[in-house]
Amino acid sequence: MFIAAMIGILVTMALALCRALLGPTVYDRILSVNMFGTKTVLFIAVLGFLTDRPDFLDLALIYVLINFIGTLAVLKFVTYNDLGADPEEQNRT
């Protein structure tokens, strides 16, 4: 049962990877990287059940958070071209 779910998630990862490689704009690629991260989380969750040891879910939890923060950091870099930029300040000037 879990192997079917696993293959489904792998196919989705492959599709996201295609979009990341093709993607004409930067934002397409960021979107697919973000989706790839979500699929990684699902993959690890299912993997824990497949190998009968679902203790590895902590790893999936960490991944969700890292994926979110990573996406925001990348977007901040794309928008302001500087990770230390203060958005409020940018709006004022």
């Binding site: 990341a20 790839f36 690890i44 890292i66 870099f77 500087d82």
Partner: protein, 179 residues
């Protein structure tokens, strides 16, 4: 059954590695390395090395992507195209790679109970660390106590590297402030 997963993940990684090396846009390359470390963390999980996977997730996908982006904001986003004959470099890479693969031939099989790693102190750690340390995670007690001096050395190295980075980058920031 997990062989299928291994093969699929490793082929994803090969595709990504080729894409990263062919890509002119450095920003995209940084994003692709982020995906790459996600994939390698999954492979570590498949190999039962959950602690390594934790580190890979935090350092590979999190910190190093941010560091690469920080570096990019100090330089340009496009790679400078160098037209040069790289035959020598390819040769070196091939020789190193084949030497490494030759080295793996001597290694014991994955999960082999007779491997030297499983014959040494591992049994004692597994049996005693619970009552000696009172920490459920054996790897933590090995790193922080049994091999404490080793870890202290590693921390010193990382601390020194951090100071070096701060000295290098802090110089640039100070200049910007003065201007």
């Amino acid at each position: 059954m997990t062989e299928i997963l291994d093969i699929a993940l490793l082929s994803f990684m090969i595709v990504l590695a080729i894409a990263v090396s062919r890509m002119q846009n450095l920003f995209m390359a940084a994003m692709m390395t982020g995906i790459f470390s996600f994939l390698s963390a999954i492979v570590f999980t498949l190999l039962d090395a959950v602690d390594v996977a934790f580190t890979e997730a935090a350092v590979g996908a999190g910190v190093s992507t941010v560091l690469l982006l920080g570096t990019l904001s100090l330089t340009t986003r496009e790679e400078k195209i160098v037209k040069k004959n790289n035959a020598l470099a390819l040769l070196v890479v091939l020789i190193t790679g084949s030497a490494l693969i030759y080295g793996t031939l001597d290694m014991p099989n994955y999960g082999d109970p007779n491997a030297p790693v499983h014959q040494h102190v591992a049994d004692r750690y597994i049996e005693k660390s619970g009552e000696e340390m009172g920490i459920p995670n054996i790897v933590t007690s090995v790193l922080a106590s049994y091999r404490g001096y080793d870890t202290l050395g590693e921390v010193t190295v990382i601390f020194t590297a951090g100071i070096g980075v701060i000295l290098l980058l802090g110089h640039i920031w100070r200049k910007e402030d003065e201007q």
